[in-house]
Amino acid sequence: MLLSFFNFLYELVCGTNPDSPEYGEGIFESVGLLTLLTTLIISLIFYVGVGRWQNIWYTKIHWLVTSLFCAVVGFGLAYSLAKHDLGSVDSYLMRFAFFNLFYAAIFFFLFSLLFKNFSIYSKRTPF
């Protein structure tokens, strides 16, 4: 189910790549899953870990920086995993990594809506 979910998600924005069936057979799933898990952990640290412990990383600026970090991590994950599996970099891979950057930011935003209610200092972040 996860395989078809991530295939749908990435093919929606990147299109299919008949030259490299590896994307549909595993890259989309592993990159998507890792991106989801990474943003989940970052969100938990932001809202439940630090957000309940101290008022040191909790403002809108902090949130924006964290979401940019998630985006960069998303880009890095897609780029490095796809390059590792395929052995070369082409325009499709760059497009895939670029859109994974946005997906990571979106995942973080969605997790923010969920976890901010469990926070103290970030309870009203980003809004």
């Binding site: 101290q54 008022n55 909790y58 403002t59 809108k60 103290i120 200092y121 970030s122 309870k123 009203r124 972040t125």
Partner: protein
Amino acid sequence: MRVFIFGIGGTGSRVLRSLTMLLASGVKFNYPDLTIIPIVIDTDAHNGDTSRTRDLLRGYHTIRNHFVSKNATSQSDSFFNTQIRSFNRLDSTLSDAADLDVQFNFQNQENTFANFINHRELTEDNKDVMELFYNDSMGSHRELHLDLTVGFKGNPNIGSVVFNGLAGSQQFKNLEASFTNNDRIFIISSIFGGTGASGFPTLVKLIRNSTNENLKRCQIGAITVMPYFNVESDDKSAINSAMFDTKTKAALAFYASDTHINSVNALYYLADSAQSGTLPNVEGGKDQVNNSHVIELIAATSIVDFINKSNTELEVPQCFEFGAEGGENPFTISQFSNHTKEKCIRPLVKMAYAAKIATDLISDLSSETFYGSKELNIAGELGIPNEYKKLLKFFQEFKKWSSEEMTSKDNGRSFNSFNFDQEKNLNFLVHGKSIKTGFLNSGLTAKNIAKRLTRIEVAEPKDLSVPEKYLNTLYKTAEECVGELGQMP
């Protein structure tokens, strides 16, 4: 239990001001159903001290109505916990939303003493007798032609005549009509002036001669404040510090033999021999605005002591003096006894932290969670801008009362209490004891306070109103600050 507290004259008003600060700081009483009914008695209706106290009491009343739970009692953990009520709205079924009325009015007070006693209507023989008793000159030391609108100018012989007229006032009749056997009376006066020295024995006499048996037999507490300040020497003024001790001795001699005074259940005496400073010599009117004084704070603690006494403790009339651990000048918190520190000073310290946070720190914490529009809505003044401004004004007044005024050298004995000048740091707020800091602990910095405010605020029950949440958050944060301070100095 209702306690009617009469503040007579300038000192009465100033002690009531100190009592208001104690009540605002959340001092607790043994009787949860306690209601304080403050009454200011002063013929000098425009007196600066009197109007300042009246405004403060009205501020307390408004703040309590908007920021404190309806179920709060004098034993609740809250600022402004004790209920105060207007003497002309004693019926508990009446709404208490109107502005607090605290001033007893004298009939025919906008007049000279001669007119007050209908001097013109007297027979020639009686006029001669009156002129033997009272100076009938029109000079600076006039008695018979004294203008009563600025008080009795240190003439208790005139004051006692005027005060007897209080019995005929509608307000005193209302008091007589509504007084129950569960009520008490406390009278604050000074002994070295005119208004308090004459008002106290006359008021006790009116109470003990009342037709209402509950009032006649009620438990009365009183504090009579002996000289504790000097005023500048001024030949044109009727007030002369050199006469304070003589007047005190004369009044004490009278009190000692007066059966009504001797029936007072708890009579507190207070004086301060350290009178080296000098206050401006103002006979009365709006310009008479004296600095607060530690003696007035101590006098206010006597009211707390009286209210907390059981009926059994008050059966036999007793006299009390105030005991401190030391008598240095300037006076400091460390010189109060442990009992006073725990009962009255700790709440004041708590209030000092809250006042500093509310007036100096919160405005800079706009990025914090508690500040936002979905939490306390500080930028929107909690949704009740007028009342919020009144609360901040009250906190500013507290800072002025407890620090700027009390530490004044003009007071004779100054009181080093709180240091509100530190920019954004609460580590040195309490004189004589600072918050411990270290390499990993910077103490009560603005950041640390912000952390506490948010943690406390988000944990408040969701069904509380925003103003209640705000004051609760301030109270609990201040309580944590006091916890960090540890034992009082």
